[in-house]
Amino acid sequence: MNGVNASAARYLLAWSVFTLLGCLAVHARASISRVPMPDEASTRWAYEALAQAAQHLPLTAAPPRAEHYRAGGAIFVSVYVHGQRVARHVAGATLTKAVREAGVAFARQPLLALAFSARKPADRPRFRIELTRGDAALVDALPWLRALLLVPLRDGLCATQGTDGGRSVCLTPDDIWGLGLYDRAVVAPIPDLTFGTDLALLEQRLADDLGTTRAELHQNGRVRRVRIEAMAPWPTETPRPALTREQLETAARDGAKFVLRHQARSGRYTYVYDAQHDRALAGDDYSLPRHGGTTYFLAQAAQRLAMPEARAGARRALGYLRASAITTCGAPDRLCVLQDGEVEVGASALTALAAAELLQSGDDADVSALLSGLTAFLRAQQRPDGELMHEYDRKRERAVDVQHMYYSGETAMALLTAYERTRDPRDLQAARRLMAHLTGAGWSFFGSRYFYGEEHWTCQAVGKAAAYMDVSAALAFCVRWARWQSHLQYAAGDTPWPSEGAFGVGPVLLPRVTTAASRVEASVPLFRVLRAHQQSAHGVTDASELRELRRVIERSVGLLLRQRWAPGPTHLFRNPARAYGGMPGTAADLTSRTDMVQHAGSALLAWARDGVFDAQ
């Protein structure tokens, strides 16, 4: 071997050793060895004792395990009123001592004692105990990773002034959560996808609390990543109970009530509800497709849950569209939805779906006329090969042949639901051609078995279409889609959060709840059809396929039940009663967008109707 080869070999050997040892060292420095959390009896006692102390009542004796419990560092006892932290006591690691000290400190505050006697539950203080479980150095030597250094909802940040024994201040996960800084640092070029925590902002806040500058803190102080977890956290990590139909229907009913609570008289919904401040988030991005989707959910709730108020709400919502967004497109009998002066084909499809679903729970001449006009427009948008054209130029009175995500699947679902009501063969024919394209020629390319788009509307339509046509090819497509999704579903312990049933490709991003909801919406009709068929023609060779599908659905339904606001992280809510039934985008989200409630509600109703319940 000549010199060049020897050099290259030495270089590769050195590189391998450096990388391996570097990985081990970085992993060890980033890992936090965590002390266990207290048991349930200790948790119950701690919160009861705080309430007793604040009301000047004698404290009950602590259970033996609570007496012996020591955290991995400081214990933070906080009091929240109307979603804002109003008091905090930071104590040492002994739980009973921390609770007793905090009780004494809070009892001395007359305003807190007064708040405890408030008549409305929303006005009463809420306690929150957060325990330090361990800490680690803030390893920020690696470039590009600063935004990912804190595990959202689990890691806080503490700073100590001076090198030895100086003053320390901390931002606990509740503090960072309340500031809305988790999961927001990086805005990805994908809708709704943000991630990471802005460490610079947190360090600046810690420096302010210490009365110094960030630069000085870096130079003369120490910043640590601290694992801090709340006693009685939300969402819970306790094993989920067996699902029951009533449980799902109650959750869906709560969702419908949430939507109705946040609907204006005009029929317009609160697009994004901010539970932390009990207000609608300002913005000019109101989505009419999501307005249509939410109305569809209310129409479902009206029929399946016998909620006349949901039917009234859905009619109001359609009335809002008629008054502000419905127009004619190309012919007097073709109706479409306009948003910002442009024809919105997706909104037209979802409004048609909502209208068709609403007619399932009773006749309505206005809604029938609206449905007839919308389906006529949607049929006119179809290409000869079955695909839909997703835009319409009103000036030139012609369809524009471009495609957007979801719209074709939504239209197929709308046409089939309309057919169930109107029995118009043109709707069925259009739906058949559209689905043949979506699940056949529309998804045929090299690698199409390894990658799939957002097909949750398509596969719902396939489930509905099975009653009227041969859907073998489309069903096979959806089975492949469902198998692929099952690989992306988290099992318990896959992420630092209780995310079993969510979907994702790694633990760094907080899982999105709506993704799980939409997978359930699509998988349940598939489950229903496969269960009815129980045949091998679609690749279902035995019952294991169905078992796997059921497992995937049940995991995701469990996630929806855990993450809905029932009641949710009430210490950060201004008015928990108004937030009840809402659904956040992620566990760190303190807002609920209307489509998140819709997808979750529709998913829960679907499994309540077609699911299998061992517990009953």
């Binding site: 071997m1 000549n2 060049v4 080869n5 290259a8 270089y11 590769l12 590189w15 450096f18 990388t19 570097g22 990985c23 081990l24 970085v26 992993h27 060890a28 420095r29 980033a30 890992s31 390893v139 690696l142 470039p143 590009w144 990773l145 990912l148 250094l149 595990v151 890691d155 070029p189 990543r225 690989h487 992306l488 988290y490 312990g493 896959d494 992420t495 630092p496 994702g504 490709v505 790694g506 633990p507 760094v508």
Partner: protein, 128 residues
């Protein structure tokens, strides 16, 4: 085909792969990746041309470019591995999906920017 011709073809292929990957496939512009990747691609292209036209300094340039590719590739793989180690330390197991994603990235980088340059240096060992 001689060894030098094979190295020329490989350098040309790598230049095309990097250029197309960076400027046609990557969905976002990122200065570090764009600049370093393009420089490596241009160097590989220069090496391929010089070997094809049998320049006297072609072998020296090919060795230098192979070293450049090797160093860039190993730094890239190290950065990915250390980042993964840090995230796994902070967040816990990366899960099946995350592991598959990281393996896919490593599979894309390792053969082209680590194994291939190492082989090229081996093939060029006896060339003057």
């Amino acid at each position: 085909m001689t060894r030098l011709h094979l190295v020329a073809v490989l350098h040309l292929g790598l230049a095309l792969l990097l250029s197309c990957g960076i400027w046609l496939v990557l969905p976002a512009r990122y200065l570090l990746v764009d600049v370093v990747g393009t420089l490596v691609a241009l160097a590989a292209l220069a090496s391929a041309l010089s070997l094809s036209f049998s320049r006297t300094w072609a072998v020296q340039l090919a060795r230098a470019v192979a070293w450049l590719e090797l160093v860039t590739g190993t730094l890239c793989v190290s950065a990915l591995a250390l980042s993964a180690a840090q995230l796994a330390g902070s967040y816990g197991p990366v899960g099946a999906g995350g592991a598959a994603l990281m393996a896919a990235v490593a599979l894309l980088v390792l053969p082209y920017l680590v194994v291939l340059p190492a082989f090229q240096l081996f093939w060029l060992r006896d060339s003057p």
